[in-house]
């Protein structure tokens, strides 16, 4: 039986803008198995990014529970402080975003090694070159981000997310800034990481073609999640 790595129960997130109350998530419950590739789709404002941020421990919910690999992270009234959330994030997650956020004064190698300056799992040092080679960036290690293409920058961002060997890779619109050819390449890389390395991937995408690469698609509408 597949192991549940992430389980959300009744996750709710309410924002306040002045006197207006915005219910971005309205009690979402779902579970994600280890090794799954789940894509979240939906129109803007449907709550997909809010949900993924909660699943990725980037934010506290207003209500609901989140269990991460059997460990309760949020349980209704209990919220984690920034330090505790950071600890969870660095031990479990790797993140990639639409914008690559590479540091322009650091080389490709240094950008990938950046997370290790703050936290390193045993043996993580050796991962830098291995992952860059695996992603076809071995020949660009000493280049600065300004000297490589957008697709290559996203590969570097993926390598950076993988360097501490995360259990779950969280990708928010990873191809949003790339053309269709580069988007396909990044999609294939993610699919390969999921299939060959068994990495759990949670992705938000507007791109149906990219979303279909995952084995499971969840559609978000009005703060609710629907399996497709």
């Amino acid at each position: 039986m597949a192991e549940i790595v992430l389980e959300a129960r009744g996750l709710t997130r309410v924002y306040h803008r002045g006197s207006e109350e915005i219910r971005a998530l309205a009690g979402v419950s779902l579970s994600i198995n280890r090794g799954e590739f789940v894509s979240f789709m939906g129109p803007s404002g449907s709550g997909k990014t809010t949900l993924v941020n909660l699943l990725g421990c980037l934010d506290n919910p207003t209500d609901g529970d989140l269990v991460l690999a059997g460990r309760s992270i949020f349980d209704g009234c209990k919220m984690l402080g920034e330090r505790e959330l950071t600890r969870v994030r660095r031990e479990v997650f790797g993140y990639i975003f639409q914008n690559f956020y590479l540091i322009p004064t650091l080389t490709v190698r240094e950008n990938v090694a950046l997370p290790l300056a703050f936290y390193r799992k045993p043996g993580a040092d050796a991962e830098v070159e291995r992952i860059l080679n695996m992603l076809g960036m071995g020949h660009r290690m000493e280049h600065l981000p300004g000297q490589i293409s957008g697709g290559e920058m996203q590969r570097v961002a993926i390598a950076r997310a993988l360097v501490n060997r995360p259990e779950i890779l969280l990708a928010d619109e990873p191809t949003g800034n790339l053309d269709s050819k580069r988007s396909k390449e990044i999609g294939e890389i993610l699919q390969d990481l999921n299939r060959s390395a068994g990495l759990t991937i949670v992705m938000v995408s507007h791109n149906p073609e990219l979303a279909r690469l995952g084995g499971r698609i969840v559609e978000m509408r009005d703060g609710q999640a629907y399996e497709v």
Binding site: N53, L58, D59, E82, R83, T86, R89, R90, F93, Y95, F97, Q98, N99, Y101, I103, P104, T105, L106, E110, A113, L114, P115, L116, A117, F118, Y119, D125, V128, R160, N164
Partner: protein, 394 residues
């Protein structure tokens, strides 16, 4: 792999012009501060050196303005008044007195000096008592006079350089057209003596037609009560007593205004540099909010981010501080010249004394002030929440 310090260092290269301008600001404050501290120390050292090189602690001279007396003794002067030479013998009888030496100062107008002529100062000194007052004098060539009334001169180092004279050469006393044979040239002392021409007292009295003296230099016994001796000397008719400790205090008071001004400039320079550091680091933090958020998703704790930003401040301040100290040391001579122009009196020797201890003290002040300036930007950066910063991308 890359360390936090390397990340901080490389971050400073993003906006090179801004970093450079901030560095220049810190460098200038460091330069002003170390020069000021060096001046505070150097000026007093130079003054002490000048006073010690007088060879005596008290001076008796005809009544007049005490500042004029000090100026006469330290720089030479005109409009002199005279006292009887016999007064030296009576002062010698006081139990507090170890040695006395009579001195006659004379100034003659030399039309060949400089572009429009100048004053040539001569010191008539007693060969029997004056050399004992200045045992530290060393001769580059020759020695003291062979006869107390010989037509001979001993030249200070700079006087000989200026007149281009060697032992055996003749010098002409301006106005009087009397020739003197140079019998000795001194090594540099770093005091006013370097520019002086010494002549036997009797010879100078004969040349100037004055059988009196201008000054009596008094060396006090080691454990004697100098104040008590001063009181006794004040009772003498028509003389004034100048104590060099008083002269020193008076001069230090005179320059205190200049010191306060320079100190104020240094404080203003430090405040400007501090504001510059806060601005640079804060701007850099605000521009990198998203990136700082991403660092937090990678596992950076608030303290890690605080330290990263603080390290940037430390690097800026340390580099700017060291560069400023380097400049201050390199241009100490030029600062010396500049300070001499604005001060009412400047002793000989270096006025700006910068040593390793002073350099380290300045660096510590600059770095401490810089780190205090970096506190707010670093604290602000440490508080960035990843989600808020990522949302900023719109």
């Amino acid at each position: 792999m890359i360390s936090k310090n390397q990340i901080a260092f490389k971050n400073l290269f993003r906006k090179k012009a801004r970093t450079l301008l901030t560095l220049v600001g810190i460098m200038l404050s460091s330069w002003v501060l170390v020069s000021l501290l060096g001046f505070n120390r150097g000026y007093e050292n130079a003054l002490n050196h000048d006073i010690e090189n007088m060879g005596y602690q008290l001076m008796v001279m005809a009544k007049g303005c005490p500042y004029e007396a000090a100026t006469m003794m330290l720089q030479g002067g005109t409009g002199l008044r005279y006292i009887e030479q016999s007064m030296a013998d009576s002062i010698m009888k006081e139990p507090e007195v170890a040695k006395v030496t009579p001195i006659l100062m004379q100034a003659f107008f030399d039309p060949n000096k400089g572009t429009s002529g100048g004053i040539a100062g001569y010191f008539g000194v007693d060969p029997a008592t004056f050399p004992a007052m200045k045992p530290f004098f060393r001769f580059r060539q020759g020695g003291w006079f062979r006869d107390p009334s010989a037509a001979e001169a001993v030249m200070g180092y700079e006087a000989a350089e200026l007149e281009q004279r060697e032992v055996g050469d003749m010098i002409l006393v301006p106005e009087k057209n009397v020739q003197l044979k140079v019998v000795g040239i001194m090594e540099r002392t770093g005091s006013q003596d370097d520019g002086t021409i010494f002549v036997p007292l009797k010879t100078l009295q004969k040349i100037s037609g004055i059988d009196k003296i201008t000054t009596i230099g008094i060396k006090v016994n080691k454990d004697a009560d100098t104040a008590e001796l001063e009181n006794k000397l004040y009772k003498l008719q028509d003389v004034q007593v100048v104590s060099f400790s008083q002269v020193k205090q008076t001069i230090m008071k005179l320059i205190s205004t200049a010191r306060v001004m320079v100190l104020s400039i240094a404080v203003i320079a430090i405040i400007i540099a501090m504001v510059g550091v806060i601005n640079t680091i804060l701007m850099s933090v605000l521009e990198r909010m998203q990136e700082i958020g991403i660092l937090k998703t990678m596992g950076a704790m608030p303290w890690d981010i605080f330290r990263l930003v603080w390290t940037e401040t430390l690097i800026l301040c340390a580099c700017g501080g060291i560069a400023g100290i380097g400049l201050a040391v390199t241009f100490a001579r030029a600062t010396d010249v500049l300070v001499r122009r604005i001060l009412p009196y400047a002793p000989s020797g270096g006025l700006v004394a910068i040593d390793a201890r002073l350099a380290l003290l300045t660096l510590a002040i600059i770095v401490t002030v810089g780190l205090l300036s970096g506190l707010y930007p670093a604290w602000k950066a440490g508080r960035v929440r990843p989600l808020e910063s990522i949302r900023r991308e719109g």
